[in-house]
Subunit: 198 residues, 4 copies
DNA sequence: TATGAATGAGCGTTCATTCAT
DNA sequence: AATGAATGAACGCTCATTCAT
């Protein structure tokens, strides 16, 4: 459920040698995460290789494109965010409350990733995979929450999940590095703006 | 009011040759504007020089940093936007209505400038001047409108002009090139979220 | 007659496991042949390994250099070509006719091997083995045919087998991919040029 | 007539500054020629820059593609070769004799250029300009000579100028570095093969 | 013996910036 | 004042080859 490359039965069938590669891959993920924090997700491939203490080719082997690496680094958190949607819907007082909380989770995720929000809106080909993954995982969840809130009459129905996600994502751009700018507050306003004027 | 490099008394002290330089500078502005539309504000310096039919050095002479050039290109429009604030406050039904309309002006400005919104949040040193100019001109106007609306009890008072500007700017990032994303709608939601729940 | 690495008495001394290795080697040859057709003889080693379903190291074990692999792949055909020389000499009306036909066989061979002709003339060290094998097998045959034709007075005697082979090989470079270039026709002219002006 | 960038009246109209660039460009041509001799025309761009003592960008400025550089280096000689065609036709005893001599010139040119012959047949995109230049300049000349010889009944008419040039070019591949291979002799045979059997 | 993960030299290319003319 | 030639750091990427498992 969390690594993607290997199926559930991995432990039994994988060749023993895989252990090394796995260690290396994880070292790579750690290193990439560290570099992403330090220099943003656009950091030179070489920096990540150096941080991980591996060769350049090793990165390309494991993650043919930069997007693949970013996805791998943040996969767990994105998945967790996606999983949280239905859970919140079940546990919250109202669908709108669930939506708010869920958006908060998403913001928490983005704000702590230096530059990730910015790359999410880049029309740069080569990030298509990254776009696709984020959209595939999160937009349906957001859409579901919006529909529920609309059905409950709490909000209007004129905004799509995709558009809201993009808006929230954009609001998180540059949220670190600027103490005068609190993305969370802005997002709250945005979500507040959804509420139906009763 | 429009050139910035020269003080008010310019006409008296300038050497006669200045006319050429001025012509050059204006050609540069036109060219830069054209290139910005075509390729965004990150276009290679060379392209702008080529479009203007001047040398590379000439650009650096007039506009030491890219930000200086961007400012110069959009100065009139930014100034117009700034000037519109008080006017709208005077002519609109309520301060909040003025705020909404003014924000719309700002969005109109940003959305039509390929990539300008993105550069506004870049923490890239070298855009400091650009930041500063935008903030100096527009934040006070925005603050003024916010205060008026807050004084009228139409909105809460927990948001600063700077923060709102940044949020709106962010929402405009990537607004072209994506038909499924309408920055204006998102901004409306954001501004709507300001309204005090009475 | 076909494996080359092992001497005539091989069957007696080999360890029992050898059968696996042999199967592997043959799979490798088939795979290489397929890849050579598809991408030329300069295809990345990886592609061949992938096609064969074996590891990279296996290829290097069996064929330390690319030339070794190329030789192995085309050995049968080269041998057949070499064997055809004496046969044609015996069956043709005149030695010169035999020479012409034999050269045609060689051209047929080269033209169908994407890029082989080009590599034959490369002075790239590491193709020495390839050169050597081709020369060892074919040059004597060509020389023999030339001598017979010279002895019959059909051609002059001022060209060496090596030189003619090289010339023919060169004429075949790039013969695919260009409809306006027919290597066979050029080779016919070249061979025609040998004929003694009576 | 020889430099291409500048028209005939260059000396009068060029800005004075051009002198430096011209010196540099010529140094570049010299350096490239030297490196081409040493390492072939596929030599790394960096090597040429180092040899010339200039920066990498300078090469790209003057010669955006490698083909442009090769053309520039050999332009004079190619032009001279093209110009020699009509002259030989006028001065030789017969058209066929002119053709033979002209082909010899072309061979002389190619054989002394390490690797140039090889690149001429490469279907590598990016050498299109080079191909085009060679074909544009030389094929018509060759065609003209062939036609004259055919009209004089000295040769058949079943070969196109393009095909002959390609054949001759191919025969010249790898002609240096191999004392046992004399491209000139092979080409003579090829051209000899054209002669009509009367 | 077989594997394929790892390496890293090497390449082409771009572009902001400097500075001689 | 204006030019634009020159620079070279930096980057993404490929692939032959080695070697631990």
């Amino acid at each position: 459920m969390s690594d993607g490359d290997e199926g559930a039965g991995r432990t039994r069938t994988d060749p023993p040698k895989r252990k090394d590669a796995r260690r290396n891959k994880e070292a790579l993920l750690d290193a990439a995460a560290a570099v992403f924090v330090r220099s943003g997700v656009d950091a030179p491939v070489r920096d990540i290789a150096a941080e991980a203490g591996v060769g350049l080719g090793t990165i390309y082997r494991h993650f043919p494109t930069r997007a693949d690496l970013i996805i791998a680094v943040y996969r767990h958190q994105v998945d967790a965010c996606a999983d949280a949607g239905p859970a919140l819907l079940a546990s919250s007082a109202t669908p709108y409350a669930a939506l708010r909380e869920w958006i908060n989770l998403f913001v928490d995720f983005l704000v702590t990733k230096h530059g990730l929000a910015a790359v999410l809106q880049s029309d740069n080909a080569g990030f298509d995979t990254l776009h696709a993954y984020f959209l595939d995982r999160l937009v349906p969840v957001c859409t579901r929450l919006l529909e529920a809130a609309a059905a409950a009459g709490e909000i209007g129905s004129d905004i799509a999940g995709y558009e809201l996600m993009r808006g929230v994502g954009n609001l998180c751009i540059g949220a670190d590095n600027d103490l005068r700018y609190d993305a969370r507050r802005l997002v709250e306003l945005l979500v507040g703006g959804l509420r139906r004027p009763h």
